[in-house]
């Protein structure tokens, strides 16, 4: 706690050097117009903004913030931010790379540039880049995180770092960062963190029970709202994975089918995970054909979800071999290695 206060104080000092600016903007989720004013304070969990210039600082909780733009930020940063929101990480990175004289910018703006650069690189690496490795991108993000514990991106950075550690198979290390997320003061973050933590725990068979508990916590939550509903859905999937892992394949299958039925068609990430979970459940139950079909859903329909696709390819390679379709097994392995060479799935397949 003390560390966090000091960090907040430091952030405040950094921000204060920008006194006198008028038009920083905080876009709040679910509100049409942005809050304009001068950002006076920043911590990992809130940002203070003086709307009126009278010194009255309004605290906006970080979980309500969609994005922040600074008055004196370069336009490239704004473009990058937009691209990130649209998932166009390569374009965002290009924009960020074009920002001249970053170190002359206001500190908080520099932090944003650093964060978004690290974030883009992380996302690109997670998608299976040949030029940016997950390890390197992870190191960059870690550097930001360690240096900016008072930044409003702090929790998000923890989450992405956790994701990257999961992507490289370092599930126990990922737990650390997800638990930071879980310590956030808001229920929706806690729920999301529990789901992520559950998944990381599930990947470590000795911690399966704990994983089950995490998912159940989310399922037992009474929080209302879209985000909460989405997390509960994700938790159901997690529970299904837990059931599959603990030899309750039929219940797992039934639960996954419910998730697929309830999930929005646009939620491709959840669908991809769902079909992988379904595949794993069938595989555990010895139903090879059903497992193949489930993983093929990911390969055919959701191959844009990199991590899920890698997992699906890994399983497909093994299952094709089991049904004597050697050529298909070889093809799956080749795609896995060429596209997701640095993923743990490729490592597991002997790449």
């Amino acid at each position: 706690m003390k560390k966090q206060c000091l960090a907040a104080l430091a952030a405040l000092c950094l921000i204060s050097s920008g006194m006198g600016r008028a038009a920083d903007q905080i876009r709040v989720r679910s509100e049409a117009t942005a809050i304009r004013g001068q950002i006076m304070e920043m911590a990992f969990d809130k940002v203070g903004i003086d709307r009126t210039g009278t010194g009255v600082v309004e605290q906006i909780a970080v979980n309500k913030i969609a994005s922040i733009s600074f008055d004196d930020e370069p336009t490239e940063l704004g473009s990058a931010r937009k691209n990130v929101a649209d998932g166009r990480y390569e374009d965002a990175l290009t924009s960020l790379g074009e920002i001249p004289a970053v170190n002359t910018l206001r500190v908080v703006v520099q932090q944003d540039v650093q964060f978004y650069t690290a974030l883009c690189r992380a996302k690109i690496a997670l998608a299976g880049s040949e030029t940016i490795s997950v390890t390197d991108a992870g190191k960059e993000l870690y550097t930001f995180l360690m240096a900016n514990k008072g930044n409003y991106h702090y929790l998000e950075a923890n989450e992405v770092l956790g994701d990257m550690l999961v992507a490289t198979g370092k599930y126990d290390q990922a737990e650390t960062y997800y638990r930071v997320l879980q310590s956030a003061p808001w229920d929706d973050y806690k729920m999301r963190a529990s789901v992520l933590l559950g998944r990381a725990l599930l990947a470590q068979p000795e911690k399966a029970t704990e994983a089950g508990r995490q998912f159940q916590m989310v399922l037992d939550s009474t929080i209302q709202g879209k985000e909460a509903d989405a997390q509960r859905l994700a938790a159901r999937l997690g529970k299904a994975a837990f059931l599959a892992l603990t030899d309750q394949a039929d219940q797992a299958v039934a639960l996954v089918q419910q998730v697929i039925a309830d999930a929005s068609p646009e939620n491709t990430s959840l669908h991809a995970q769902a079909y992988n979970t379904l595949g794993n459940a069938h595989r555990k139950a010895g139903r090879t054909k059903e497992a193949l079909l489930a993983f093929l859903h990911v390969h055919v329909l959701f191959h844009g979800e990199a991590e899920a696709h890698a997992e699906a390819l890994f399983n497909l390679a093994e299952l094709w071999k089991a049904v004597n379709k050697q050529e298909r097994a070889v093809a799956a392995r080749q795609i896995l290695k060429s596209r997701y060479g640095s993923s743990p799935w490729a490592q597991r397949s002997g790449g």
């Binding site: 089918q257 697929i260 039925a261 068609p265 054909k289 059903e290 193949l292 079909l293 093929l296 859903h297 055919v300 329909l301 298909r328």
Partner: protein
């Protein structure tokens, strides 16, 4: 041709356009997207599994569930187009057909029904094309090719009918829209456009079916020309309706041009194609492709123009295109065709010029360049291009560098194979025309081709093949297998063939490999020592079984089953042979052959079984069953074969043999009229075959059998004139054979005929068919009378007498008093013997030396059987006066008295003691005493003693009271005494048996007498 590959596009287009909105919406499972994705990836098997899963999945949208069979059909059709395995392709189309039918039945009102009908028609269409391709594949016999083309025609006609129905439906749908639609009504305009597009596509499908039907006829034949003409008109109509405004119309125009090209009307074809070329733009790509296809047809047509092909024009067009070719299109299918045709035009043109003409050199160089280009790419023209390139380079086969990899070695092997095949075909064609001048050269060419093909295919297999597709490897193995077999390397052929058949059963040629392996072992079997063939037999059996079980629907299965039938027959496993036969489809061209073989084998087995000694002979019911089965099989087989016979030249030797068997079967049955039918049949009658000099009937043995059975048959039906003719022919045949003992031969033949007759009479007797017996006997009697009149030959007369005896035996009831008919025949026999004895007395040379006593014995026997005991004894007494110690005569005399005893009981005593009047007649008692106990005559001793006991018993039965008792006891003592003297009698001590089992008969007689006497004495 891509035009027909675009049939898929046509149909797919109709599915999308005609059924927009008919595909079910998906809320939960993206079933359609997933299915499409699986198909695109080539995961057709998973697509099918997925559809099956969707039948019961809670995630499947309800509307999607209704279309599962439709989607399964689409998937299987798509798979059929990607596989190289003929078996898999057929399986896919078969499965697709079933799914479409199921969908159409279960979802009769679904919006996809019109599409499903078209898809079903398309399955037949594809299948028809496959059958045509199979028919034209090398190695097919004329019959196989015909069968495949007939199948193809039927399938294409079915497809045609379905396309007609679809076209009608689309036409009606299209006509529902008003002629005038305002521009503002975009929706209606779009819908009308779609409907017209569907109608046009359906017309193109129809035209495609009409065209494909032409490929089922021999090119150049009347039917082929008629069909192509129809196709040209159909395509022309499509073009007239839709013109150049639609791609389909232009496609139809191209096909119309192609049809005229095939009809040889090059002027019309060029007019159409040239006009079409001007209409086709270079963009978008679909038109560009069509334009390239048009150019291909144009070039081909220019090279066909008669009397002088338009080489220059072809060269100009082709060269220009090549120069302007865009990127990858130069090496796609049309690009390679254009290169090749341009090269050919240049080469052919160069050949019309003098060698030293610079233009000749220029064109040769250009042609070589084109061929070199085409030779780099795998495809239809690759081999030919390579060969032409070498030809132009002046490189002889032996100067070519040896291959360095699998592909090159395989290609060299293919070229050599082609060389062998072409030489073989040409040699056969010329031989059929009676030409022989090229024969030696072609034989040499064939041998060279075979040797080279084997060399290069083996070489190919010796290279690194780790990245060679299994289908390509097996194609080489298949050729090698066949080459090994042709070259006599039978073990290699067997091993290679079996390897492919067992490890790659889905591959094209796998079944053929199995058959070649089997045939290899069959040849090895024929060459192995007769007592050392078990290994080969086992291999043949094993492979035949494998082929028959693995590919039950393929033609090779019938070949294998026939082998299994033969093996089963050899092993006398007739029931098994019948089972194998049953597996050969009724409509298989090998079915008739199998029935003939099995029927002939069954008949032979029956004849052999019938002539076995009594103890080994199967029982009567079994014999009748064998006879019935033989008849049935032969009738079926001959009936089927008859359909295909147009002249006796079409009758195989096997068939001719089976016809003879049929005549034999009916001749000896209660339906001899049917035997006459088989003899006189206008197509395959036995006598017709002989008259026409059929190959199988040239052998004397065959003709003898034929006339013999004809003689028998005509006798049986009472047609004496024809019987006489047959006899004349038989006599002439035997005499013409140059046989020094022709007369004896003929007599033997006639005697064997008499034995057959006796057999038939016996069978009829067993079956209780007295009327048939009388009829047969009556006819035969007339024949015998004729013989007697014609001949004074001792042997013939003896045969007549014997035959009368046989007739009597056939009618014999086994009772004391014969039937009147039987007695009459025995009397006739006696008369015949009397006649012969009279001749002997007149002419000492009439009969062989020492024949007279035998004749007397026979006459006596005939009298006895006729019940003329006095006459019989008179003969025997005379004989005994001359030679009292003739045991056989004494026995005959005792038998007469014994038989007489049934009418006059006192004669039993004469049988026992001899005649009180005629001292030379001994009776059984003295016979036994004279014979004594010498081991070599023991059977006669027991014959005498047992008959003596029998006579005593029979005599006792005619008495009453104490006299009876005394005689019974005496009979009992007679037997008991013998039993005490010979305690092992009937057990260990063997009693010699003659053909009539006299010894055993004696033993049974003892037992019978003792048993009967004892019973009667007990009752007392």
């Amino acid at each position: 041709m891509k035009v027909f590959k675009s049939l898929q596009v046509l149909i797919a287009g109709m599915v999308v356009m005609g059924t927009l909105g008919a595909r079910p919406a998906e809320a939960v499972e993206r079933a359609s997207d997933f299915l499409d994705g699986l198909r695109k990836q080539g995961y057709f098997d998973m697509a099918i599994d997925y559809l099956e899963q969707m039948r019961t999945s809670p995630l499947a949208p309800p509307e999607f569930k209704k279309t599962i069979d439709y989607e399964a059909g689409i998937t299987l059709v798509a798979e059929s187009r990607t596989t190289r395995s003929a078996t898999t392709r057929e399986k896919c189309l078969d499965g697709a057909r079933e799914h479409f039918k199921t969908f159409l039945t279960a979802q009769a009102n679904h919006p996809l029904v019109p599409d499903a009908n078209i898809q079903l028609a398309n399955v037949h269409f594809e299948w028809g094309k496959i059958s045509v391709a199979q028919a034209n594949a090398p190695g097919k016999t004329a019959q196989e090719k015909k069968d495949l083309l007939d199948t193809a025609r039927k399938l294409l006609e079915d497809a045609h009918k379905a396309f007609v129905a679809a076209e009608d439906l689309m036409h009606k749908k299209s006509n529902k829209f008003p002629k005038e639609i305002p521009d503002s009504d975009k929706k209606a305009l779009e819908e009308r456009g779609a409907a017209r597009a569907d109608w046009m596509r359906s017309q193109l499908l129809l035209a495609a079916a009409v065209y494909e039907l032409s490929t089922t006829y021999e090119p150049g034949s009347t039917q082929h020309k008629e069909q192509v003409t129809k196709a040209a008109k159909t395509y022309g109509d499509v073009y007239k309706l839709f013109g150049s405004s639609r791609q389909g119309g232009l496609r139809a125009r191209l096909m119309e041009g192609r049809c005229f090209k095939e009809l040889g009307d090059t002027a019309k074809a060029l007019e159409i194609l040239t006009n079409l070329t001007t209409l086709l733009p270079d963009e978008p790509e679909v038109f560009r492709i069509l334009k390239n296809q048009t150019l291909v047809q144009t070039l081909e047509t220019l090279l066909l123009v008669k009397p002088k092909p338009k080489y220059a024009e072809a060269i100009t067009l082709g060269t220009k295109w090549i120069k302007d070719a865009r990127g990858a299109e130069e090496s796609d299918i049309e690009g390679l065709q254009i290169h090749f045709l341009t090269g050919r035009a240049a080469y052919e043109f160069a050949k019309t010029l003098k060698d030293d003409d610079p233009k000749s050199q220029e064109n040769r160089r250009a042609a070589k360049k084109d061929f070199a280009y085409v030779g780099r790419f795998d495809g239809k023209y690759q081999q030919e291009a390579k060969a032409l390139e070498l030809e132009l380079a002046g490189v002889k086969d032996e100067e070519r560098k040896e291959p360095k990899n699998f592909v090159d070695a395989r290609d060299r092997g293919k070229q050599a194979w082609e060389k062998m095949r072409v030489a073989d075909l040409q040699d056969k064609a010329e031989a059929a025309e009676g030409k022989t001048e090229n024969h030696e050269r072609l034989v040499k060419q064939k041998a060279e081709g075979l040797a080279d093909a084997k060399k290069y295919y083996r070489m190919a297999m010796g290279f690194d093949t780790s990245d060679v597709l299994a289908d390509d490897l097996n194609e080489v193995r298949y050729h090698l297998c066949y080459l090994y077999y042709l070259g006599g390397d039978l073990y290699e052929a067997a091993v290679t063939g079996e390897f492919v058949a067992k490890n790659y059963p889905e591959t094209l040629g796998a079944a053929a490999c199995g058959i070649i392996a089997m045939a290899s072992y069959q040849t090895l079997y024929a060459g192995a020592p007769k007592n050392d063939r078990q290994f080969e037999t086992d291999q043949v059996y094993r492979l035949a079984k494998y082929v028959a079980d693995r590919w039950p629907a393929r033609p090779q299965a019938a070949d294998a089953l026939i082998v299994l039938v033969n093996i089963a027959i050899q092993r006398n496993e007739y029931a098994q042979a019948m089972q194998y036969l049953a597996k050969i489809p009724e409509d298989s061209r090998r079915r008739a052959e199998a029935e003939l073989k099995t029927g002939a084998a069954c008949w032979k087995a029956y004849v052999d079984a019938y002539h076995l000694p009594e103890q080994q002979r199967p029982n009567q019911a079994t014999l009748l069953e064998m006879r019935k089965t033989s008849r049935q099989l032969l009738e079926q087989g001959i009936g089927r074969s008859r359909e295909e016979v147009k002249s006796t030249a079409d009758v195989s030797n096997a068939l001719a043999g089976c016809i003879l068997y049929m005549v034999q079967i009916y001749s000896g049955s209660d339906e001899p009229e049917k035997a006459v039918e088989w003899m006189d049949d206008e197509k395959i009658g036995l006598l017709k075959l002989i008259a026409d000099g059929h190959e199988a009937t040239k052998a004397q043995a065959f003709r003898i059998q034929a006339y013999k059975v004809a003689l028998r048959t005509y006798v049986a039906v009472g047609d004496i004139e024809k019987a006489k003719t047959s006899l004349d022919q038989l006599q002439e045949l035997v005499s013409a054979g140059g046989d020094a003992e022709a007369a004896k031969t003929l007599t033997n033949i006639l005697i064997s005929l008499a034995q057959d007759l006796e057999q038939s009479l016996a069978e009829l007797g067993t079956e209780g068919k007295q009327e048939e017996i009388k009829k047969l006997s009556a006819g035969f009697e007339m024949f015998l009378s004729e013989i007697t009149k014609r001949s004074d030959d001792f042997q013939t007369m003896l045969w007549v007498a014997t035959t009368f005896t046989g007739l009597g035996s056939g009618l014999s009831t086994g009772q004391t008093r014969q039937s009147a008919e039987a007695a009459r025949y025995f009397s006739l026999a006696a008369e015949a013997y009397q006649e012969m004895i009279g001749r002997c007395e007149k002419d000492p040379n009439f009969a062989p030396a020492g024949a007279l006593p035998a004749l007397q014995m026979r006459m006596a026997g005939s009298h006895r059987q006729a019940g003329h005991f006095k006459e019989a004894m008179a003969v025997l007494r005379t004989a005994l006066e001359e030679k009292e110690r003739a045991i056989a005569t004494q026995i005959a005399a005792a038998e007469v008295y014994q038989a007489w005893g049934k009418e006059k009981p006192d004669y039993y005593l004469f049988a026992i003691q001899g005649s009180p009047t005629y001292r030379q007649v001994w009776g059984w008692g003295k016979i036994a005493k004279v014979i004594g106990t010498r081991p070599e005559y023991r059977h006669i001793y027991h014959q005498a003693r047992s008959n003596l006991a029998e006579c005593r018993l029979q005599h006792a039965l005619t008495l009453t009271g104490d006299q009876r008792t005394e005689k019974l006891e005496q009979a009992q003592r007679d037997v008991t005494a013998i039993q005490q003297l010979y305690p092992k009698l009937g057990k260990e001590e063997s009693i010699p048996e003659d053909g009539k089992a006299t010894g055993l008969e004696a033993f049974r007689r003892y037992e019978s007498v003792l048993t009967k006497a004892s019973e009667l004495l007990k009752k007392k």
